[in-house]
Structure formats: structure tokens, C-alpha cells
Symmetry: C5
Subunit: 347 residues, 5 copies
């Protein structure tokens, strides 16, 4: 079941949407039911409900048929008795579970979406505002932007080998230094931050001897030419802050589950309710109790199961595809930029 | 069914709101029912439910009439049995589907609304802050702002021919370059970014010879006149970041559907529930089972069908009309501006 | 019904809240029921339900009384049959309609609230940061801020005559130019933007002859005195962007209704459900079917009717009162400012 | 009932949370029921329901006992008839009322929370960035920050005497001027804005004679010393904009109730439903109809009553305590600052 | 019960997620039920319900068995009578309680998540932008960033000894000064703010003698070298404002509970409903009334209990672990930075 999570990392395109919308989906979904990983994951609790329902039915049928000592009563109840009274509460807990889990999944997906946007944005800004002589710094920044997303991916999901990922992106000594860090995403951001600052600061020389009027002009000129304009540096720093927030959001989702008391109470509620269900069903449907109890259990446990399975979204999000998108975008931007001859000067 | 999606790209005006609100809407909606694309889209599953309901009714009627061997029992159940117990869960899944799909539709619509706002805003700023001698850059910026929205439209929806769209907006060599790019919206933003920077930077000349006090003044003066003031460039760069976020939001909606396990579980739940429905209806309504089962199926499947059909919102949003709005706004702003004689100098 | 919408533009004060909270509201609301515009708006569908319920009751009573040929059966069903099964789905659609419509109403109200805040804020900033010699520009800005809100009002709601509104606010030639524009709110913002820039830029003179050291000082001094400080201009430009977003939000609400398929499906669902209701009621309440069916129809259709009537919020929001608030605030701020002798210099 | 609203302005501390969480709360809440202001507020409608239930019970009992002419039928209906059909709709309206009212309450509380944060923030910034010679301006700013919160409190709630409040905070002539203003919170912000600007601008002298090179240096130096750095002024201006938004949010909540049609429809729906309730109860519970109808009415009307009572949140929020917090924080910050010897110079 | 809250401060890692998702959770949750702190916390109300159910059952059984004087009637009612009518309202109140409490918990968790992000961000910026000669200020800033989180923790939760916590982080005289402050988190922010400013301002010397042209250049140069660039200071000040907002958000959650009338009404509603439950159950399930009433009470009271227990989230959030994360991150960043030789100069 754990292993199957990697097959759920869906990325849609136009074609898949058309299939998704077509009316044939009903047929497709019914057919795939037996092979569904979720169904197989629920095998154990469904077997339990099957056993309970069979036991209740056999017992009650025996009593009715007079096969058991007459002291033993039939054990059944009207289906609208306590059942109607608490089914709304199950509904409440399932709604809560569904909404809270989906919100976590969506938050995680949005954080990664933002990571893509802002990686593109940072690259765009760097390509535009870094002066031509800062080309090595520019490459450094692009490299580490890509490395940052891959590092974050490995920080959030065990399935990926960080060292391999980095080997394709960073220089060996860079990758090594990064692997030594304890909190790696923050390390990447620190490097990006230093890079920004290096590009920004005017060469320190004129500052060392600011003792004649001319140098003022010199300094101003140097500032205007060699440095990323202050406003641009500011804006790029904003994107780094955005990166910090993305790291934090993802870590929050990974570290803090929905309060466990809800998860436990929902499990207990469902098991108790489903255990009592056959007693309520026998009265109105007789031997159909067994299949019906199992079907109802499947439908309800299925909702909870999905909720639990997307509560930790990183192992089912296509983080790999998202990282590849970032890498492809950054590289294409770099390529376009160098074809244009290094910036807006020639525009 | 796919083809019909383009007829759902509604844009309302005062008149349509009046019609929308009038009490006659009930008559209108009932009349349009038979020609409704949604109804026809549901024909297959409704036929299935019709068949099941008919089979159940015929079988049970035969048993009651003694036409079948007496061993065969009537197959029916009380309608408030397992049914009441799980109908809340269907409700839950449909509510979730409806809300999540509508939120996606609304997100997409808001992103495009923001695209309009910020296209206007960027144009406003450029018209205000670009110096008169940067008129070519200004035209370039306006042109690419319009091109950006059209490129994004084609990026999100297959129905539009990008080359044709661009031909009306960009110069031939620009359109060609754009069509060669792999991620076209990002390419547009890169061009806009370079344009901003070109307008912003002071002419590089005075910088080359900053060796006497006078030039300091010269440089400062040049900066004050020829360049977009730093703060304005900053604010326009903010709008480009906003554009990046819009691209990202739209791509997220296009690439990441609602977790498929929910979609599948909802389909399965509905089909199982509707298949069992005739058994529960026969007991209380007899032959009315057939029409009632079909009506109920229509009402419930309809809700799911609408949810699925707006899950991917770009093929039903009036992206064309929105792009036209942007183009009209940008062009009107440019016209007004040149009538006023090129900016606030004459104000 | 359309005409009555203008009587629903409520603005509350302390007194009305006290009345709103008092327990007498029950009496008041029941008494006003017969004169309620909503009730009268629903007359047609209620008449239809009345007719259906009467027909069903008369038919069934006739059958029971043996007045009809004995071949004709009673047409009725248990009220908890298919009814219970789908009433949750009606509930779902009504909840969705209610929440989505209210969210639109609230969004529109918040956008206008923000318009008030930011009009005040822009005025505050202009009064603080415009230098005394820019008094004409200051008046221009205040005038157009007021005009902007009135223009937006007329852009969103047909009921107001723009020309008259503007005559009280703008100079004749300004109003004329504005009326000629196609997208008027954007035109206002363009004027505000040019005004800001005019106030901001240093007088162009010293720039023309920047060839001696003294002028550098001159330019710097001029910059410090005559111009709105760069940061202030930046902050005021942010408010203009906020205005653009407000225009865009309002236009989105006006142009894009809730996906029509939901509206249609809800109408159809309600009419079908209410048509079947009398059949279900007859069994348990007999002749009380007629009044009860009409009451139930009133209660449910009422919820949908309110939802539809606030879906387009601008014709029921007190836009007039909000514009008056803006005008009064701007004028009071101007008055206070000139009494204090034109800014913080004397503080 | 109105008077009692001031006793609901709760501020919690650790102790009260412990009490709040303890299991004894059930006992406490049941005991306080008879003295509950809400219960007494509902006396009138509960009496009405009591009367209806008694009348229905007496009439039906009389018919059953044969005390009335035999022409008169029993008036009753099955409790799951039309009742089940519309109880979900009541639920819907109550959920909507509850959520919308709570959202308003929370918005108001958050706006005031933000007022606290930003008052602290503005004070922090002023203490840090105002130069030592601007001490009088600093005091002015702190004074008016406190006055602003008190003015807003009186703007939103009638219960407080503004003149008295201000006497403790402002100098007499300041309080007088503020009391004369029509929109007082905006007046406060205008004063704060002027204060900021006064602190920010360099002394006007060097500007008057900018005709020799030396003064350029002088001006620059003056700018660096006497003025709040531009970025700091910018950041403080952001807090003023935040204040404008807080004023606007609070005014929106005060001026715009939830659309009245919902409030009216909910009242009517509840009264009609509760009036019909005894007819449905008699069949299943006989004379217990009277207490049960009253209990049900209490439970449902209670939910609506609470919703209505928090719809206008300012008269139940502890605005007084919040203003005191702001005053205490501002004063403590000032005290700490002067003990440290006036800023970071000595740090 | 109070003491047990500290055992609920969960932090998840990959392993725990795997356990969390595995199907064995049903078994685990059922087994831990008897030792569950929540179950034991509910002992008192469950005992009450047990008593009521037993009394009702004994009484009714006695009446049926003819053991009591025949005047006394059986006391029972149909379970779908008033019960169905109000169970939706309980559901409504529980949903509201659950959502509102969870939103508070999530807000608190997000605020602390943001505290982590922004502590990292502030440290990153300081390490990048502080000039090498400001090393002592840098250490000061890092120290107080850590101290700020620990101070806030103790401000929000009684369980931690502030003095001890600070001893490990601050110098003795700093800790002492902080402990003397009344509102300690604000005090920390004031220190951070002063530190920022000290690093930012150019050395005051050149300003003291600005009387020759050369000094203008000098001042400009000094500004460019010794000071944190203005934009960086601005961005760091933004993080301080974010800190102020975090303090304010946490305080709001701590001081303002969900309106107490809801909490009270929910308690009363539940107790009344559960007290009436045995009367409704007896009719359909006989002696099974006693266990069923207790089970239903457990399931429903459990939902409310969880809601109440997370309403004040700070005593169940792992604030300690979060503070440790901040400290570890800040220290690692400092270590990395000094290994690299003090900033980007050597990059």
C-alpha cells in the first residue's frame, strides 16, 4: 500500500481532461474497482464487518428458525432508532476529515505552485538586472534555484536520493557542502542570498579612498553600472522570503497532522457504528444484511481512507515533475537570454 | 459534448441579469431541459438506471402475481434501511465535489480578472512613467502585454490558434520568436522585463567617464530625466511578478485535478447507490419505481456532472472575451494618452 | 420586482441594530410578510404548486370516495420514500446557492469598503505629501478621486445618470472628456496617475543645463522641495493599483454569474421535487396537502429567490450612500487641511 | 436585554481556559440556564409556542375524548411528513446565519487585534527611527496613536463618552479640535500623517538658498541626520494605511448587516415551522407535546438568537480592554525607550 | 486531565505518517480507547447518561410488567418524533464548534510556522547584509531572535519557566532586563528594532562637519559601506512587523474564546437531547437502551470535548519543539556563515 503511493502522482493534460469529463468514466471507474489500491487497502476492516454481519445473520436466522434454546432472543433493532440519531455525527466527522485533508493537500500543491512561479520570477529578475560582468553569479543563482527545489523535494519525501539529484545540478564541491548541512533548504537560501548581495554591492575599491569630490561621482557612477539596482535587489529578496515561507508551509504540513484526537475519534465512531449496523439491517433486509453491510462499510471507510491518505500530501504529489518543470523553465530562460546577447542592452 | 463546451462561455450584462432574476426563469429552465446538453450527456447512465428499475419492477411484479416459481422471493427493502444510513455520505461527496470544483472555477476566473486589472495597471504605469523619448519601448510594452494574455489563453485551452492570434498583435519577427519558445508565457514576461529595464537604465555614456565632479551632477540629472524613476520600475516589476503568479495559478488548476480517488469513489458510490435504489422504491411506490428512479438519478448525477464539467474551467471560461477586453483597454489607454500629448508634462 | 430593488439598499446605524436585535422582530417579520416583495415575486410558482396540490387532492379524494371509475388508482407515495433520498440533494444545491451568492455580495461590499478606505488614504497622503505650490494638483486629485467612485457606480449599475453626477464634481470640460471615454473608470485612474507624476517630478529646468557642479546641488535641493518624496509617490501608486483591483473585482462579479448549469439544475430540481410533493403529502395529511404544499414551496423557493436576487449585488448595495461618504470624507479632509494652513509645516 | 450586552465582553486568561475546559462545564451551564439572559430574551416567542402547543393538545384531547361535536376532526400529522422535508432547509438557514454572524464577529475581532499589533508596530518604529531632537513629535505620535484607538471605539459603539476618554489622553486643545471633526478617526490619521511627515522632512532652510555647491553636501547631511530615513517613513505610512483599512472594515461591519431578506426569511420559516410542530408531535407523544414543543423552540430559536446578537459585534467585544492594552503597550514602550537613553545610539 | 495536555504535543516524521496511514490504525485506535484521556475526561457525563437510561428502562420495564400502580403510564416516544426534528440542529452546533475550534488551532499553528520562517529569514538577511564590522550586532540580533520565540512561548503557555529558558540564550543582564518588562515579546521586538537601526545608520561623524563639498562624497561613501543598505533594512523591518502580527494573532486566540453563548447553548442542547434519548430508544430497542444511550453519548460528547480541548491551542501545540527548531536553525546559519568567512565577500 505504501509503495503504491508513487503511482498516484498525477499530472493532467488536455487529453486526460477530456477522458476525465467523458460519460464513460462511470464504466471505467466501476471496472477499475477490483484492482483499486484503496479497495485492497480496506480488505482487513471489510473482512471484519463481513464476519460480524454473517454472525449476526446466522444467529438471528437460527433463533427465528427455533434452532437455538428459546431463552436466547433475536438481537436486532429498528434501523431508524439510535442509528438515524448518530449518522449525522458520522457525516460531520467525515466532512471535517475530508475538508481538512483536502485543504492540506491543496495548501501543499499551492506552495509548490508558488515555488515554480517564484523560481521563474527570480530567474527572470536575475537575467534582467544582473549586469553582464556578473555572468558567473547569474549561473550560480540559476543553479542554486534549481537545487533549492530538488533539496526541498528530498526534505519532504523520503523516496528521492538527494545526492543523485544534486549531482546533475550542482558542481561537486557545492553538492558536497550542501549535503553536509543539517537544514538543507535553508542552506540553499543562504547561498542565494549571498549571491544576490555579491551582485548588488558596488566594487569596494572607490569606497576605500573617498577623500576627493570626484570620487563621489565615481561612486555614484559605479553604483549605477556595476550593481543590481537597489529596487531590483529588494524585489529579488522578496522572492527569497517567499521561498522561506514555502519551506515553512511544507514543513508545517509535514510535521503537524490534523489533531490526532479527531482521527482517533473518527476511527472509533466508524468501527462502532459499522459493528452495530448489521443489527439494524437484519430487521428490514434479512439475509441481504451481509452484502449490504459490506457495501456500506466500503463506501464509508473509503471516504475516511482517502482523507487519511491525502493528509500527508507530499508522497502523492508529483514533486518530481514539478522540479523538472522548474529546471526546464530556468534553463530555457537562460538559453533565450544568452541568445539575445545577454540582456536588454540590445533590445 | 466536448464541442458544446464553447457555448457555455457566458458574459453577463444588465439585461441578462434582469432576465436571470425574473420569475419566468422557472418556465425557461424547464423548457430548455430536453435540449440541455447536460441532460443528453447523461443519457447513458440514465438508460442504465432505467433498465435496472424496469428489471426490478418486472421481476417483483411477476413474483407478486405468482408468475414465477414460488421459490424466488421478492427482492425489495424498506427505503429507510441502509439507504437513510448512507445517503448522507453521498451528500457529503457531492458537497465536496461541488465546492472543490466551484473553488477551482472561481480561482481561474479570479486569476483572469487579476490579469485584466494588472494589464491595465501596467499600461497605466508605463504611460505615466516612461519618458517621451521611450515611445518605442512603450509601444513594445503595450504590444507584449496584449500578446501575453493571448499566449496564456492558448497555453490553457486548445481551441485557439496561437499563430493567428499573435499575427494581429505582434510584429512578424516577434511572433515568430515567441512561437519558437517552449514555455511561451514566461517568454513574454522575459521580454516585458527587459523592456522595463531598458526604459529604466540611464544611458550608459556618462558612466564611462565619471572622472570629474561635473559628471556627478550630469549623471544625477540624466537619471532624473531619462530613466523611469526607480520606484516606478519597482512597482511595474511587482506587476510582472503578479503575472508570473497568474500563469502559475492557471497551470496548477490545469495540471492538478482534484485527487482522483475522490472522483472515482464518488462515481462508484453513486452508481452502487442508484443501482440499489429501485429495490428500495418498489416497496413504497410500486410501478412508479421506474420513472422515480430515473428522475432521482437525473437529479443526483446532474450535480456530479456539473461538478466534473467545471473542474477544468478554462474551456468554459470566456477567455476570448477577456483577452479582447485587455486589448481594448490597453489600446484605449494608449489612444487617450497620445491625444493628451504624451503624458503628464502638459497636464 | 426589478423596480423594488432600489428599496433594499440598507445602511444601518445604532438604532436600527437595536431594532434588529429586539425580540419583536418575529412579530414585525410575520406582519410584513404579506407586503413582502419577495412573496409577491414568488406568486407565479406558488400558484402552480397550489394548482398541482389541489388537483392531486381532488383526484385522490374522488378515488377514495369511489366517484371515479374503479380502474383509476390512488396516486400517492410514502413521504419517506424517494423523497428522503433526494431532499438532502436539494439542501446541497440550496446551500451552495446561498453561500456562493452571499460570497459575491460580500466581495462586492468589501470592494466598495476598500474603495472608501483607499480614497481616504490617497487623500490623506496627497494632503500630507504634496508640496504647497502643488495646490491645484491637489484639488485635481481630490476631485478625480470623488469622480472615480461615482464613475464606478454608474459603470456597475444602470440606475444612475453619470452626466448629472459628474456635473456636481468635475469641471465641465473634464466631465465632457470623461464621458467620451469608453472605459471610464480606467480613464479616471489614468488622470489620477498623471496627476501623481506631475506632482512628483522635479521641474525640468535644471536638467536642461546640468553642466556645472552647482546644479547638482540645485537639482538635489529641487528634488527635496518641489517633488513628492519618491516613497510617498510609491505608496500613492499602490493605492491606484488597489483601485484597479477594485474595478476588476466589481467587473468580474458583474460579468461572470455563478455557472449557469447550477442555476438551471437547481430550478429544475426544485420544480420537479415540489411537483411530486403533493403525492407524498396526501398519504399522511389528506386535505392539509394543499396549504402544506404551498407553505413548503414558499419556504424553499424563498431561499433560492433570495440567493438569485443577491447574486448581482450592485443593484441592491447602497452605492449612492457609499459615494456620498467618499465625497464627504474627501471634502472634510481638504477643509481640515486648509484650516491648518496647508500641511505639516505649521504642526 | 440591550443593557446586558456589556456583560458579555469576555477576556480570557489561563485560569478561565482551565475552567472552560473542565468537565464541570456541563453542570455550570445547566445551572446558569434559568438566569441566562438569552433564555429571558426568548420569553415572548416561547410563550407563544407554549400557547399553540397547549391549544392543539387540549383540542385534540377533547376530540379524542368525544367532548366536541363529532364533526370536528383531530388535527394532526405524521411527524416525518412535510416536516422531514423542510427541516433540512431550516438547518440550512441556521447554518448560514451562524457562519455569517460568526465571520462578522471574527472579522471585527481580527480588525481590533490588528489595531493592537500595528499600534505597537508604529510606536516601535517611531521610537527607533525618530531622531532625538524630534522628541516632541514622538510624544505627539504616541498620544495620537492611543487617541486613535479610543476614537474608533466611540465611533463604533455608543456606550462610551468620547470627551472623557480623550481628556485622559490628549491635550485639551487637541481633544477639542478632534471633537469638532465630523469623521473623527480619519482626523486622527491625518494628524498622525502630518506628524510623520514633519519628522521626515529635512529642515527647510538649506533648500531656500541652494545656490552653492557646499549646500548640496549640507542638504544631504541634513537629510541623513535630521530626517527619519525614507524607508522608515514608508514603512510607518504603511501602518497608517493599515489603520485606514481597519476603520473601513469596522465601518462596513457596522453599516452593512447580512442581507435583510435572509434574516426575515429565517424568522418567518422558524415561526411557521414551530407553529406546525405541535400538530406533528401530538400523534407520537400526546400530552408531552407541550413541554417538547417548548424545548425544541428554545433550542432552535436560541441558535438564531445568538446569531442575531453577534451580528453587530462591537457592543459585545471588549473594546475597552483592547484600548487599555494599546495604551499600556504604547506607554511601556515609551518608558523603556527613555530609560535606554533615547534610542539605539547607546545600544 | 489538564496535566495530560502536554502529552498531546505531536510532531510527525515519515515513520509516524506511515503508521498513521496503515490499515492497522483501526485496531490501534480501538485498543487505546480504554486508556484514552478523552474517554476518562468524559466519565462524569457518561455516568449521568447511564443513570438516566437505567432509570427509564427500569421504570418502563416495571410498568410493562405491571409491577407499578396502573395509573403510571409508560414514558416513551417514537424515535423519529421530535428527535429527528432537532438532531440536525445538534449537528449544526457540533459542526460549528468543530470548524471554529480547528480554525483557531490552525491559525495558531500557522502563526508559529510563520515565526519559524521569518526567524530564519531575518537571520538570513542579517547574515547577508550586516557589514563584517557589525559582528557584535549580528550576534545580538541572532540571540534576541531566539529569545523572542522563547519569550512568546512563555507568554502563551504557563507550563514553561521563562527565566530558565532565557538563561540558555541571553546574557544575564539582558535576561534580567527582559524579565522586568511587562509585555515581554514587545520588549524583544524593540531591542531587535534598535539593533537593526544601529547597524543601518552611517557613523555620525561626517555629519557633524558637513561644511565642504568633499564631505558630500564622504557621506555618500560612508553610507554605501558601513550601513546595511536601506532596502535591506526595510525588508528586515518588514519581518519585525510580521513578528508583531504573530504576537497579536496569538494573543487574540488566547484572549478571545469563541462567543460563550455558543459554547453554553451547545452544552445545554447536548445534555437535554441526551437526557431525552432513552425515552426515544426504549420503544425500539428495549433493554439495549442502556448501552446504546451511553455509546451515543460518548460519540457525541466526544466531538464536543475535542472541539473544546483544541479551542485554546497553545497548551497542546509543541511550542517547545518549534522553539528548538528556531534555535537550531539560527545557530546553524550562523555557523555556516562564519565558516564561509563572514559573508558574500568571499563567495
Amino acid at each position: 500500500k505504501e509503495g503504491s503511493r508513487r503511482y498516484r502522482r498525477t499530472v493532467f493534460d488536455f487529453n486526460e481532461w477530456r477522458k476525465h469529463r467523458s460519460t464513460e468514466r462511470y464504466v471505467r471507474h466501476m471496472q477499475s474497482m477490483t484492482s483499486s489500491r484503496m479497495v485492497r487497502g480496506l480488505a482487513a476492516p471489510l473482512a471484519y464487518i463481513f464476519a460480524v454481519a454473517t454472525a449476526v445473520s446466522v444467529y438471528n436466522a437460527s433463533v427465528e428458525a427455533g434452532l437455538l434454546p428459546s431463552l436466547l432472543p433475536e438481537v436486532k433493532m429498528a434501523s431508524n432508532g439510535p442509528f438515524g440519531s448518530v449518522s449525522f455525527a458520522i457525516s460531520l466527522l467525515l466532512v471535517f476529515r475530508t475538508n481538512a485533508s483536502y485543504a492540506r493537500w491543496l495548501d501543499a500543491r499551492k506552495a509548490w505552485g508558488k515555488l515554480i512561479n517564484r523560481s521563474r520570477d527570480l530567474t527572470r529578475q536575475a537575467l534582467t538586472y544582473f549586469p553582464p560582468e556578473d555572468k558567473p553569479l547569474l549561473d550560480l543563482l540559476c543553479r542554486w534555484t534549481v537545487a533549492f527545489s530538488r533539496t526541498l523535494k528530498c526534505h519532504l519525501c523520503e523516496d528521492y536520493p538527494l545526492a543523485e539529484e544534486l549531482a546533475r545540478v550542482l558542481r561537486p564541491h557545492e553538492a558536497e557542502a550542501l549535503l553536509l548541512a543539517k537544514h538543507r533548504p535553508t542552506y540553499c537560501l543562504q547561498i542565494l542570498s549571498e549571491t544576490l548581495k555579491s551582485a548588488h554591492l558596488p566594487p569596494p575599491l572607490p569606497v576605500a579612498q573617498p577623500h576627493n569630490g570626484a570620487t563621489a561621482g565615481h561612486a555614484a557612477a559605479a553604483q549605477a553600472v556595476a550593481a543590481v539596482p537597489a529596487a531590483a535587489a529588494y524585489r529579488m529578496d522578496e522572492n527569497l522570503t517567499e521561498f522561506e515561507d514555502i519551506v515553512g508551509t511544507c514543513e508545517r504540513i509535514l510535521r503537524a497532522p490534523i489533531p490526532l484526537s479527531y482521527t482517533r475519534h473518527t476511527s472509533r465512531f466508524m468501527i462502532i457504528w459499522l459493528t452495530l449496523l448489521p443489527f439494524a439491517l437484519w430487521d428490514s433486509v434479512g439475509w441481504a444484511t451481509v452484502p449490504l453491510a459490506v457495501i456500506v462499510a466500503f463506501l464509508l471507510l473509503g471516504i475516511e481512507e482517502i482523507g487519511v491518505s491525502i493528509e500527508e500530501p507530499f508522497s502523492i504529489l508529483p514533486l518530481d515533475a514539478l522540479c523538472d518543470t522548474i529546471e526546464a523553465n530556468v534553463k530555457e530562460l537562460q538559453r533565450t537570454h544568452s541568445q539575445q546577447g545577454g540582456g536588454g542592452g540590445e533590445e
